[in-house]
């Protein structure tokens, strides 16, 4: 649909490569990149004394440290992690095989792909009340929400990735008398793997976001619930601490999946 659906890692690499051409600048890019979060932190430090609504980074980090030392963060962290991992797992286990079918079967593709693509702009979170009425407030509804959110990017990416496997490779496979399973495991999936991984990475990010939004709306436990409780009680250092933790987890998870994706590509 767009050029950015496959994140512009290559263009970044390209730009970096162009810059590295100038030898003296080779260290400059990583150095400049590192200064960005440092600058953000400094701005945060500078803003904090001006307004009561922004606690200092030190206060937020101390609160976060306390969360781990005293243990108040663990129940919420564990609950969110359970919902994300279980829901994401369901999303992969359903989205990947169905996406494979959709990519390989032309009839199924022509019927279902427009239906799925048409709902792209529907915010999945509006289905959360349906899950809440079905399962009640709790981990089950939240896991369902995560699974639905992860399912769509994974099925779409898998279908597109499988479809762009070259016809020549498939012909080669058939001429070597590969059966259906061998075609799938030895040719189609390995060839489509990097593009499928893009969908899985996006699915993971969306899983995490979905869990947090769901918890902000209604949950028994979780980081999102803790954020909204801290907001309601105006415990700002705690609110900033949890938001910081959520960002770090999302960032690290994304980096890990990204490096896996790059390994598959090379």
């Amino acid at each position: 649909m767009t050029v950015t659906s496959d994140p512009p890692a290559e263009t970044a690499a390209l730009a970096a490569g162009q810059l590295e051409g100038r030898r003296e600048r080779r260290w400059a890019l990583p150095a400049a990149r590192i200064t960005v979060p440092i600058a953000a932190l400094l701005i945060w430090f500078a803003i904090a004394p001006i307004t009561d609504l922004v606690p200092s980074p030190a206060a937020a980090l101390a609160e976060l440290w306390q969360g781990f030392a005293d243990g108040w963060i663990y129940p919420g962290l564990a609950s969110t992690a359970t919902a994300v991992l279980a829901g994401f797992g369901i999303g992969v286990l359903t989205g990947f095989p169905l996406g494979y079918l959709l990519g390989r079967n032309r009839i199924a593709n022509r019927i279902f792909e427009p239906l799925i693509a048409g709902t792209f702009a529907v915010p999945r979170i509006i289905l959360y009340p349906v899950l809440l009425t079905l399962f009640g407030v709790g981990l089950l509804a939240e896991t369902g929400m995560v699974a639905i959110s992860a399912f769509f990017p994974i099925i779409m990416a898998t279908s597109a990735a499988v479809r762009q496997v070259s016809e020549n490779l498939l012909k080669l496979g058939r001429s070597l008398r590969a059966n259906r399973r061998q075609l799938a495991t030895k040719i189609v999936i390995p060839d489509a793997a990097p593009a499928i991984m893009v969908g899985i990475r996006i699915g993971f990010s969306i899983s995490f976001i979905a869990a947090i939004i769901a918890e902000l709306f209604a949950a028994k436990e979780g980081l999102g619930l803790m954020i909204s409780e801290a907001y309601a009680a105006l415990e700002l250092p705690r609110m900033y601490a949890i938001v910081l933790l959520v960002m770090v987890i999302a960032f690290v998870g994304n980096i890990l999946l990204w490096s896996l994706e790059r390994r598959l590509r090379s």
């Binding site: 050029v3 509006i126 349906v130 939004i213 709306f217 994304n254």
Partner: protein
């Protein structure tokens, strides 16, 4: 004559199958709810939801919500588009700055920017402002990235041609670079608009004082199951129509430009 009819029939069969699937699914749910297999507290009969929809759509509450959501989406998109285009142009003009910030911009895709919502609520209060900020920040990312990629993809011969034809700077920008970049910029704008809409409805759903997303959560909390489903349905229909319309527009513009 008969061949064109056959061809259009051949093209129409997936649509027929799709309508059949949706209608069949609705019919099945109607049967399950009417016969009591599914409690009306969990899912009211689809006909009842659609009937409620007919009541809701002309009502003032709905029109106010729709207007409020539309204003939020359009302002978020306008802000996101302006900032996104400027960032895209800046990253193209200054490749070093682009290379420095690009990984952060890309990772904002996966960052739950939405978790800043409570912070913005604390800072800006329970108004449209925090929603506009979040939705605009979601919209600007694809717009900035696509603009940058679009400008970088322009062959250097094009502006050179302009210079050799004695074009002014302004002419090179408006008559050469802008049209050449359009086929890739437009998908970014489309995606940006959709993100603005998703962000707005999702934020309204979490916490707001009006809007379509807010109303869904409101009816859930007041146990008005029929109204809740009717609002979920109308929000989905609006999102689907916007998506389909924008994709058509995008394809048309790209076809005209290429």
């Amino acid at each position: 004559m008969s061949t064109t009819a056959a061809r259009s029939r051949a093209r129409a069969w997936p649509a027929v199958a799709q309508v059949g699937l949706v209608a069949g699914g609705a019919g099945l749910l109607e049967f399950l709810t009417q016969s009591g297999y599914i409690s009306p507290m969990v899912l009211p009969p689809p006909t009842e939801i659609v009937g409620k929809l007919g009541e809701i759509v002309p009502s003032n509450v709905f029109l106010d919500d729709l207007g409020s959501t539309a204003i939020t989406v359009f302002s978020a998109f306008a802000i996101g588009a302006i900032i996104g285009l400027l960032i895209g142009i800046a990253f193209w003009k200054l490749p070093f700055v682009g290379a420095v910030f690009e990984p952060y911009l890309v990772s904002m895709y996966s960052m739950p920017a939405l978790v800043f919502y409570p912070i913005l609520l604390a800072l800006l209060g329970l108004s449209k402002a925090p929603i506009v900020v979040i939705a605009a920040s979601m919209a600007l990312i694809p717009i900035a990235l696509n603009t940058m990629v679009a400008l970088r993809a322009i062959k250097s011969t094009l502006p050179k041609l302009g210079t050799s034809l004695n074009c002014t700077r302004r002419q090179i920008y408006w008559k050469i670079l802008a049209p050449a970049a359009t086929p890739l910029v437009v998908p970014g704008l489309v995606l940006g608009f959709i993100y603005a809409m998703i962000g707005t409805i999702a934020m309204e759903f979490i916490l707001a004082s009006n809007g379509i997303g807010f109303r869904i959560g409101y009816y859930y909390r007041s146990f008005d199951v029929v109204d809740m489903y009717a609002y979920i349905l109308v929000a989905s229909i609006i999102a689907i129509i916007v998506n389909v319309a924008l994709n058509r527009l995008e394809r048309r513009i790209r076809r005209d430009m290429q």
